[in-house]
Symmetry: C2
Subunit: 192 residues, 2 copies
DNA sequence: GCACGTCAGTAGACACTGTCTACCAATGGT
DNA sequence: ACCATTGGTAGACAGTGTCTACTGACGTGC
């Protein structure tokens, strides 16, 4: 515990990340976070004028974490762009399913202050990279359109899967077939 | 207003449907619904033991509404299965974007009592029909898998579009290109 | 050395939420 | 005429986010 008193601002976000990871979004009440940080319920207001801004700061950690995992998985980027998109998709789905609370928070737009500059800054480059890779993998189509459709597909799979709506119909408890189906659909089936 | 006193049970659901349509999910507090129905805040408890069960009943109306619109749009089903899936997709996206509050509620699993029998009963047949049509349109693949992936794609498009995350990147304010991209991707491009 | 203003956090109030419990008034059956 | 069940009221309770008044501590200027 070196950051026992590392500034209340970051400590609140730390507590929030732990809390949403361990207990989910509904546990992220302002007063509970303050309690676990060992301060009064009015203290967070000094750094986060509203509850939503604190939640946005916590979600921002999620996007940064996801981006870091993506970058780590891509490595030096020597693989084909097609395979790079595949690994990005797998990293995203893995993240969404192992950090369900955080993933839910990251896309609960009613809980986030979307004009929080940091949020867009942390989430946009991921999408930019995806557009770039898709454009390289399929030079024949509108990359932004296909990337958008693919992103929507991945997000939808993540959501329906966490709700269990797809295990019943697909039969397995492995989302790989779904992921491959989406990648094949949007990028075409080639090397595998 | 013939149903001025049509039984509190259905009146509460009516009020909820109006409310979520007009003001969104966050307006659906138990006490506000009771207020607008002209009863005390404890009255709903007689018919809906918990808030979630009332919300589930409201969401059920959404699924029934959506299913009715789908059936009406399909007509007698003389078109090709490929085109039938296309119309279903368009009906769904239209519904999601013109009834944003209701659509959000329908997929807010943290607000719904999933073991509410009526909910699964109202939402499953829609998916069953989709699997059936996909199987007819693409007999060469696992229909349940492709239908699941397509459904996830449509849901993701609906969500990202309502958040405005896709208008920026695709340029237009018409979701048709995205819908067509998803359909072409999962069902193959043929008649158009 | 001392007043002064700023900063960080406390404590309490307010309106609102969902749930629970005690009560009450009507209604219909025997 | 009595009684029990039904359908709804009213108040309490713990919890929430926000707002405001207040309290110390700290550094700076004089």
């Amino acid at each position: 515990m070196s950051e026992r008193n590392a500034g209340l601002r970051t400590r609140l976000v730390d507590v929030g990340v732990e809390l949403v990871t361990a207990e989910g979004v509904q546990a992220l009440s302002l007063r509970e976070i303050a309690r676990r940080a060992g301060v009064s319920h009015g203290a967070p207001r000094r750094y986060f004028p509203t509850h939503l801004e604190l939640l946005s700061a916590i979600a921002r950690r999620g996007f940064e974490d996801l981006a870091a995992r993506g970058a780590a998985a891509l490595g030096d980027g020597t693989e084909s762009s097609r395979r790079q998109v595949a690994t990005l998709g797998r990293v995203y789905l893995d993240f969404a399913l192992t950090h369900r609370g955080m993933h839910e928070l990251m896309f609960r737009h009613d809980l986030l202050e979307s004009n929080t500059l940091g949020l867009r800054d942390a989430s946009l480059p991921v999408f930019g990279l995806l557009v770039d890779l898709v454009g390289r993998a399929r030079p024949d189509v509108d990359a932004r359109l296909v990337a958008g459709a693919l992103l929507a597909n991945l997000y939808g799979i993540a959501q329906l899967w966490t709700w269990g709506s797809l295990q019943l119909t697909t039969g397995t408890d492995d989302f790989t077939p779904l992921l491959d189906a989406a990648l094949d659909a949007h990028l075409g089936r080639e090397d595998r």
